[in-house]
């Protein structure tokens, strides 16, 4: 495994595998992976047919990079990551993490701690449980639609349905199967966890809205796609 070894660091998490769906994020992916590798031994990037050098940069930064031969979508990339992690017996948890650098590694570590200590199958990051994150108005509308849609279709009362930071136990990822390739997978994960009656919890996290992540954010119209994907499948 290509990992950057630094002596004197506290032991890195070896049982929790980080899965990052990667698509054309060459500007930030190296720093995201480098930071994660300081805390986690296994960082898996699923390159979803990037046309830039994201995959090479992630590999150099220390990630294990899987490559989709064609672009399939973020949900498909996550599912591939889950399948890959399940082939490794030592993995007890999966952490899903966005490639654009909007999540904090410390949040991921705290969520992992919570999942372990309380034996919770799924811990979802939520940016709306405290006041740290300040999304713009447009973002708020998109996320509110997503939250309402998720409530209607899954019955789970999440406050932030489309947060990319999650900690899922091995049992959880072996029980769920995402078939929505696009952005609707976030609601789909929630839906299947609700159906499998797994224990879940939300955890307050901060989203770092950089200029970069704002530029790449979801459009208002895409929330309509998410709703329709959930109805017609």
């Amino acid at each position: 495994m290509a990992t950057t070894k630094k002596s004197g660091r506290p032991a890195r998490e070896a049982d929790a595998w980080v899965v990052i769906p990667l698509f054309n994020e060459s500007e930030v992916i190296a720093s995201v992976v480098t930071e994660l590798c300081q805390s986690f031994e296994h960082v898996v990037c699923v390159d979803d047919g990037s046309s830039d050098d994201s995959a090479e940069l992630a590999t150099k930064a220390g990630a294990r990079v899987l490559r989709h031969p064609i672009n399939l979508g973020q949900g498909a990339a996550l599912q591939t990551g889950f399948d890959y992690v399940l082939t490794h017996e030592d993995a007890t948890h999966v952490i899903t993490f966005d490639a654009d650098g909007q999540h904090r590694v410390s949040d991921a570590l705290e969520m992992l701690e919570l999942a372990r200590s309380k034996r919770i199958s799924a811990v979802f990051g939520s940016r709306f449980l405290d006041k740290r994150t300040k999304p713009g108005l447009k973002k708020k509308v998109v996320l509110t639609v997503a939250v309402i849609a998720t409530r209607v279709f899954t019955g789970l009362r999440l406050t932030d349905a489309h947060n990319g930071l999650r900690v899922l136990s091995r049992e959880t990822i072996s029980k769920i199967r995402m078939e929505q390739n696009g952005m609707s997978h976030a609601s789909e994960i929630v839906h299947q966890i609700a159906k499998a009656r797994l224990a879940w919890r939300e955890y307050p996290v901060e989203i770092l809205y950089t200029e970069y992540s704002k530029r790449k954010g979801q459009s208002l119209l895409n929330s309509i796609n998410i709703v329709i994907d959930l109805i017609v499948r």
């Binding site: 090479e56 989709h68 399939l72 399948d83 390739n181």
Partner: protein
């Protein structure tokens, strides 16, 4: 009017098909029967054009031409929905294929950890 019931029923069926269609043999059989029926009815309409107006009259539609137009709209809508569903199934197949390829490659790379990074 009878035609309104028939047309609403047809549109609801198209809607159900949009939500529930699965690639199953029985649904394929039904689709094929529908196509055969449409061909037969089409042939009848060509051979006896005046009867389309008679049928239209029974249904409460003014003219036979209007009946054909309605039938065409419903058929076209069904076709669009069917193609849409087909595309969804195909996407799923392609996804499974691409994922399998990715995982096989990954497993190969894991077995031979010779630090060569492929471009």
């Amino acid at each position: 009017m009878l035609s309104q019931w028939v047309l609403m029923g047809a549109l609801i069926l198209v809607g159900v098909y949009l939500l529930k269609a699965k690639p199953s043999a029985s649904q394929q059989a039904i689709r094929r029967l529908a196509i055969i029926a449409a061909l037969l009815l089409g042939a009848l309409a060509v051979l006896f054009p005046s009867y389309t107006s008679v049928v239209a009259g029974y249904l409460g539609i003014g003219r036979g031409t209007d009946l054909l137009l309605y039938a065409f709209v419903v058929f076209a809508l069904f076709y669009v929905v069917h193609q849409y569903r087909r595309q969804l199934w195909q996407e799923k197949t392609i996804t499974d294929l691409a994922r399998a390829l990715t995982l096989v490659r990954a497993a190969q790379e894991d077995q031979a950890p010779t630090n060569k990074t492929k471009p």
